[in-house]
Amino acid sequence: MLEVVEGALNTNALYGAWSKLCVEQNLGALCVFSGFVRPEEGLEGLSFEVFMPLFEAWFGTWQERAKAQGVYLCLAHSKGDVLVGQGSYMTGLMGAHRQKALELYAPFIEDFKHNAPIYKYDLRNGQKIYAKDRSHPLKGSGLLQ
């Protein structure tokens, strides 16, 4: 399940929905990771843009990979503005037992950081500044250089 929502995530509601799904699917383990916007050096918030066709394809590939391990993935991300203290990213890995879900936990979250087609901007002094130094080039970058 992939969800992109406008503004901050309702992490409590997401956890409730995903844990319910876990029980309904007779799965015994739900490993959750959440990302929140930190108050650092005058940061007022973050802003995100998402390129959905590629995001859905990236997630679909991971869902298939996880399914082969008996794991079901949920991911929710914000678009638009998310203020300090609010959640912008949440993922849940569900499995019959914790082992397979935990094996995929770090690789899935890390790959998200490097390959999910999302643009992040810092919100400072009413300005939206591209987080270039924290961004990662996608596979095949430089093809037109």
Binding site: A57, K113, P117, Y119, H136, P137, G140, S141, L143, L144
Partner: protein, 73 residues
Amino acid sequence: MVSVRFLGPIKEESLELDIANLKDLRAILHEKAQIKPWLAMSAVAINGVLVEDANTPLKAGDEVVILPPVCGG
């Protein structure tokens, strides 16, 4: 015509171009001072799929998207 769209921080209007492949696109984009600095760090998607071959052909109706570096979370 092939449409070309620029994502994220590349603040450039979309283009409609009569081109046959990515090499044609490369030549056109290198002439645009605003876009050229992004090319070395940007990926290319055709109809929502990342491509890695500069010889990839294009046909009328294709959508090319230029994707600079990403950072979710």
